[in-house]
């Protein structure tokens, strides 16, 4: 997902009876479905875990501008260009909401950038794959935004107020993202033989990385159990992946495209699809920085930041000059 494998500092999820009164009251409020707000007491581990999760999510949104931004200047029609621009602009906006949500937990945006640029903070594995054809823009909207929606819809109910509210705004835009991607795929799949081949090739390359977005099975993970107890995670990775496959397979069929998984078949008994296992070695390699585009993506973000230092410094200096001038004219007036 946009936040994958978020670690807590937990060794074991404790029961209410094992908690100090303050923490117990906190957990009881969460259990009762109440929202936690920035100024309220919270366990240090809850705060730290949320910072990790929200900042990872924010970084994913802004790094995610790059693979799609790659095709704005080559979009095939004026309308597609406008739609893609609007979509990439939305993603930057999502980054902004999420950085603001994380800032309520006592970390600054500059600190989060620092963690991203140094490689300490992660972002979603999916954005380390290249966009090689126009069909990749369709596949990203359809599959990647589609997978993001699976995860983000339940996060609208998460226990931390600012994060939940950011998700409400973001989810409104994500369904447009998914639709525009599916629309690109529909036109290609019904187009010339070359366009259809382009669409199939994109599905072949994006299918498995999309399934990996949900992260490896976490049924045995103490971190996931703790995050679920805190209601900052609602479903297991496998649950969400299953839901995604069940939603997406009929869409691929409608498009006349083949999902590149020989193990894929409908299982009447469970009322869902059986499907193959993604290559988790590849996933861990991408997470560790060895994906096809990790270096380009990070390099691009670092360059944007470093090249822009004079711009940010200029604005700060001007604001200080203006404040000093106002101060001077106030003194002169007295």
């Amino acid at each position: 997902m946009y936040a994958q494998m978020v670690k807590t500092d937990t060794k074991r999820v404790r029961s209410l009876d094992e908690m100090e009164p303050q923490e117990r009251a906190f957990q009881e409020r969460i259990d009762a479905g109440q929202k936690i707000e920035p100024k309220e007491w919270m366990p240090e581990d809850y705060r730290k875990t949320l910072i990790r999760q929200i900042s990872q999510h924010a970084h994913s949104e802004i790094v995610g501008q790059l693979p799609e931004g790659n095709w704005i200047s080559r979009a095939p029609t004026l309308e597609r260009k406008a739609i893609l621009l609007a979509k990439v602009q939305d993603e930057a906006g999502h980054g902004l909401y999420l950085y603001c949500a994380a800032e309520t937990l006592g970390i600054s945006r500059d600190q989060m950038y620092e963690q991203l640029h140094s490689g300490k903070a992660k972002y979603s594995s999916i954005f380390n794959y290249p966009t090689l054809s126009w069909a990749d823009i369709g596949a990203i909207g359809w599959l990647v935004d589609g997978a993001a929606i699976m995860n983000q819809v339940p996060l609208q109910r998460c226990s931390y107020g600012p994060y939940a509210r950011a998700m409400v705004r973001i989810c409104k835009e994500e369904s447009f993202h998914q639709r525009q991607g599916f629309d690109i795929m529909t036109v290609l799949a019904k187009g010339t033989p070359e366009q259809k081949a382009m669409a199939q090739d994109a599905l072949d390359r994006w299918w498995w990385p999309s399934l990996m977005m949900f992260g490896p099975s976490d049924d045995a993970s103490v971190h996931s159990a703790q995050s679920m107890a805190w209601k900052i995670k609602q479903n297991s990775n496998d649950e969400l992946r299953q839901k995604f496959v069940d939603q997406t397979v009929p869409q691929a069929k409608y498009l006349g495209l083949t999902v590149p998984d020989p193990a894929l078949k409908w299982n009447e008994e469970k009322g869902g699809h059986d499907f193959g296992e993604p290559d988790w070695n590849e996933f861990f390699a991408v997470i560790a920085g060895e994906g096809p585009c990790n270096r380009e993506r990070l390099e691009a973000r670092r360059k944007a930041w470093n090249d822009g230092a004079w711009f940010r410094d200029g604005l700060t200096a001007h604001a200080e000059k203006q404040a000093a001038r106002r101060q001077a004219s106030r003194i002169a007036a007295e």
Partner: protein, 259 residues
């Protein structure tokens, strides 16, 4: 609709004028969109994408009018993606490479300060279609100008480095501003028939705005006044060919496909 449809000569003039307007928007929108994900701050990524989006929307309107007035059954996408360099009518200013973020902002400002008074004048065009597009676009462009002027002032009057970068951007771009006010036979015809203002008539408003903004920005107006020109005749700088090679790639590589 207004008179132009009944008079082919006026139609050809309107078509050519709409191309000039649309091409400026398209090429500047393209340049701005190159910053997506690479700008100095997240807020700038958003603002630049927003400006680019407005300009692409305006492109669709102007090129739509060009197709209608031309009457050859072409679409705005045909015009955008299937014309070569010599068919493009934009100012040389908008096709200049982005350079650093300061040059991008300065280019935007110099253009906005001309674009807005032009659109305001076009709101009184004898062709209702031109007037309507101008009215819609002027609301967006008023905001572009407010933003670009504000940033020019803040960066000009910022640090020594930001000042030096903005001055260098201004000096580099200045020779491309003269073209905005030059008139050719078509401009004279448009002015005579009340379709568009005389280009020179926009100069006082532009000079006034630019003079005031640069003074606030503590920047010096360049003394040299030679003008690089040719965009309206389809004689461009070397840069436009690369923009089109990139922009038109899919339409050229897969002729006749729908997207």
């Amino acid at each position: 609709m207004g008179a132009p449809a009944s008079s082919p000569a006026v139609s050809a003039a309107v078509a050519e004028f709409a191309l000039r307007m649309g091409d400026n928007c398209l090429i500047l929108g393209h340049r701005n969109s190159e910053w997506c994900g690479h700008s100095p701050a997240l807020e700038e990524d958003i603002a630049l994408a927003n400006t680019a989006l407005d300009l692409i929307g305006q492109t669709q309107l102007w090129l739509g009018l060009a197709c209608e007035a031309e009457g050859k059954g072409r679409t705005p996408d045909n015009l955008a993606f299937l014309r070569d360099v010599s068919g493009y009518r934009n100012l040389l200013l908008v096709e200049q490479p982005n350079g650093d973020f300061g040059r991008t902002l300065m280019r935007q400002y110099l253009f906005d300060a001309w674009h807005l008074p032009l659109l305001k004048a076009l709101m009184g065009s004898a062709d209702r279609r031109i007037a309507e597009i101008a009215e819609k676009a002027s609301k967006e462009v008023a905001y572009h100008l407010e933003r670009s002027a504000d940033l020019v002032v803040r960066l000009g009057d910022g640090t020594a480095e930001s000042h030096a970068r903005m001055q260098a951007a201004l000096d580099f771009l200045w020779p491309y501003t003269g073209e905005m006010f030059l008139a050719d036979a078509l401009d004279e015809e448009l002015a005579a028939t009340g379709l568009a203002p005389e280009p020179a008539s926009l100069k006082p408003a532009w000079q006034e705005h630019v003079g005031r903004t640069l003074a606030d920005a503590t920047l010096k107006v360049p003394e040299k006044s030679f003008a690089q020109k040719g965009g309206r005749r389809g004689v461009h700088s070397e840069h436009l060919g690369y923009i089109l090679a990139e922009m038109q790639f899919l339409q050229r590589a897969y002729p006749g496909a729908s997207w």
